[in-house]
């Protein structure tokens, strides 16, 4: 067992991560030890990253304990660099006891300063030059080579010409050095892509009730509708984030099947979403910021005239699907989509209706034929007990759900084989022989025999797969 992390007091006593537990306890007998929980650490980091969303949507998490925020273009919102750093530090102190902050022109530079800087220096370039070469985060061998060559700080590397360094230590070194010093640009990979439209309201006095928060969301929806109208676009997905003063973030997301920018409808979808939550929203000590984002939008022409009622009807049905999906969940409201499969239970899929704007087309039944597929299908097929069976046909009598059925008419077999192309060669799987069966009372069943007589150790079983109309 090894140590994964030590606090400052432990470090002063000479303990480092990677040391075995027994060694550590030998040096410091009164050591307090807790189990490492990487999953909980990751969650903790994710929550802090969520809370940092109030500063910028572009946040990259670096497990186990780092975050990079891209503040390009957003400094003026917080009153300049110094004010921003003060706010970020104040927030971070609620979550962690030790916070190392740094700001630089590139992500690598900022990371290096935060992790390796020991003496605060006002000028960014000078601070970067004072860093040790370990700040480049190269492989251990490369770092050792650099130290042996007498290059101990970034300044040593920065002043030399690039070509001999690249030849001696590899091009990766020069690449990283450039990014660290800001000579070449690089971007972070944010956790979430920046949405197309973001509107927010900040409150000096945090708002304490959920109703007031919903009213603010309604106002933001009106503003968003104006911006979307100018761009001739409508939103497909709307996300409202409520930022509590203690750093907790509550997120509400609603979706729409067709592009939408009508404020009352957006507000109503959010109301349905709030009503459908398992636990009511807890404002805590209040929300000090509310943000409405439109992550997904699509072109939407200026208000369409409902000439024949055709367009309006489609929209009305889409609005109903949106409302029901917001209330019960998008997975519960579905439409059927045909699939090309000979296996009966896979011949049609039921997919979320909010994703399907255009209805699918189904093949019409053959004239003169009775229905060949049942209107209800059991999943999984239900076992029946055969009382009087024939080797070549459906049973004459069978028991299903404790009722004895006497077969009057039958048609079949329709053989539906397994997907032999998915099985090991030489093992074709059991085929199903389907029969359309009607009992003396008129109840029609779709029975199948799983396998053939004589094949396998015991007699094949019979199942009822569906009920006909």
């Amino acid at each position: 067992m090894r140590l994964t992390a030590c606090d400052a007091a432990a470090r002063t006593l000479g303990l480092v991560p990677g040391m075995t537990l027994t060694d550590a306890q030998a040096r410091v007998p009164e050591l307090a030890v807790a189990d490492a929980d990487p999953a909980a650490d990751q969650q903790w980091l994710e929550r802090i990253a969520d809370a940092c969303d109030r500063f910028t949507p572009l946040v990259e998490a670096e497990p186990p304990d780092g975050l990079i925020l891209d503040m390009t273009g957003g400094l003026h919102l917080f009153g300049g660099e110094t004010a921003l750093i003060a706010q970020v530090e104040a927030r971070m102190r609620r979550w962690a006891s030790h916070v190392h902050l740094a700001m630089a022109a590139t992500p690598e530079g900022a990371r290096a300063l935060a992790r390796f800087q020991t003496v605060p220096v006002a000028d960014e370039a000078a601070a970067l030059r004072r860093l040790p070469v370990a700040a480049l985060e190269l492989e251990a061998d490369a770092l050792r080579d650099l130290r042996r060559a007498g290059l101990k700080t970034i300044a040593d590397l920065a002043d030399r010409p690039a070509a001999p360094l690249a030849a001696r230590f590899g091009a990766a070194l020069i690449d990283r050095l450039d990014r660290l010093l800001g000579r070449s640009d690089s971007r972070i990979v944010p956790r979430r892509t920046a949405p197309a439209l973001v509107l927010e309201r900040r409150f000096a006095e945090p708002i304490a009730t959920v109703e007031a928060a919903m009213a603010v969301i309604g106002d933001l929806a009106r503003e968003a509708a104006q911006v979307l109208a100018e761009r001739h676009r409508g939103g497909r997905r709307f996300v409202a984030r409520l930022y509590r003063t203690d750093g907790h973030v509550i997120e509400l997301a609603v979706e729409s099947g067709l592009p939408l920018r009508d404020p009352p409808r957006i507000a109503r979808l959010f109301a349905e979403g709030v009503g459908a939550l398992a636990d009511p929203i807890d404002p805590g000590f209040g929300f000090d910021m509310i943000r409405l984002a439109v992550p997904r939008d699509e072109p939407l022409a200026a208000a369409q005239l409902a000439l024949e009622g055709g367009e309006a009807r489609e929209e009305a049905v889409a609005a109903l699907i949106d409302r029901l999906s917001a209330r019960v969940g998008r997975e519960r409201v579905r439409r059927f989509v045909p699939r090309d499969s000979h296996i009966p239970e896979q011949a049609a899929l039921a997919l979320p209706a909010i994703d399907l704007a255009t209805p699918a087309s189904w093949p019409a039944p053959e004239p003169g034929e009775p229905p060949l597929r049942p209107i209800r299908l059991f999943d999984p097929p239900q076992l029946v007990e055969v009382i009087a069976g024939l080797p070549d046909g459906p049973p004459q009598r069978f028991r299903w759900r404790r009722i004895l059925h006497e077969v009057a008419r039958a048609e079949g077999p329709e053989r539906i084989g397994g997907q032999w192309w998915r099985r090991a060669p030489g093992d074709p799987g059991l085929a199903r022989d389907y029969y359309r069966v009607e009992d003396v009372r008129g109840r029609r069943f779709w029975l199948f025999r799983h396998g053939l007589y004589g094949e396998g150790a015991r007699d094949p079983r019979w199942y009822v797969h569906g009920l006909f109309a």
Binding site: L320, I321, L324, A348, I375, R409, A469
Partner: protein, 264 residues
Amino acid sequence: MVDSLRLIRRRIALIERRGPLAGAGDPACWPTGHSALDWALGGGLPCGRLHELLAESGEAGSGSGFAAMLAYLLGGEWLWLSEERAWRQAGALSATGLAAIGFDPARLILALLPDATAVLRAAVDGLRCPALGGVLIELTGDPRALDLTASRRLVLAAEKSGVSAILLRLDGQAAPSAAQTRWRVTAAPSVPLAAGAPGRPAWDLELLRQRGRPAGGIWRVEWDYEQGRLRDWYERDGTALPGAVAPAAADRSAGAGTTLHHAG
């Protein structure tokens, strides 16, 4: 002659995917094609009303088939709301099965909800959307949420918007409700095809109750989806047997049902 004209009009309307035209107070009627049944209904199925169907869960195929047929006749896009328990007992609705009896599954929006209260709430929402053709509610047993008040709420919403409602109750007991018509659906032996194969869907329909009109009557029918109409089971070669059904006169009270005896 009048029948076929109505049939042609309705087929054109379905092709154009228009819903029925609802007048104020007097609902449009869609004829089923079975003359005795249409006569008992006063012309045909009224739209914008609640129709209740009772069927056993072991005969859920017949119940669903008749419900789908009613939805087909009433036209438009339908919202099919089911309680999860109903699907566990009676099997899931199959799109291929619906297509096989002539009902285009693209006209259906399906919602599977955890309990009867959620189903009824969603039903009221659906009935308030005039763009739909109808809402089909599938429940099992006798849920407490389905009482007279709930059915009145459904009826009011349906009448206001002109959207029809069908309430399919598997293993349900008849209870006071505000439905326009109440039916009991049981499976009937089908007209056999060649080599004794089971034929088209056939049902015994009993009209248990009708608001404002005499109830009673059992008909054995077969669903002919090519023509989109119900046929009398005893109708062979297009000619109905004389005296197969005794129509109830307007002044006679309800309960004048006819029972059909069949051989075998």
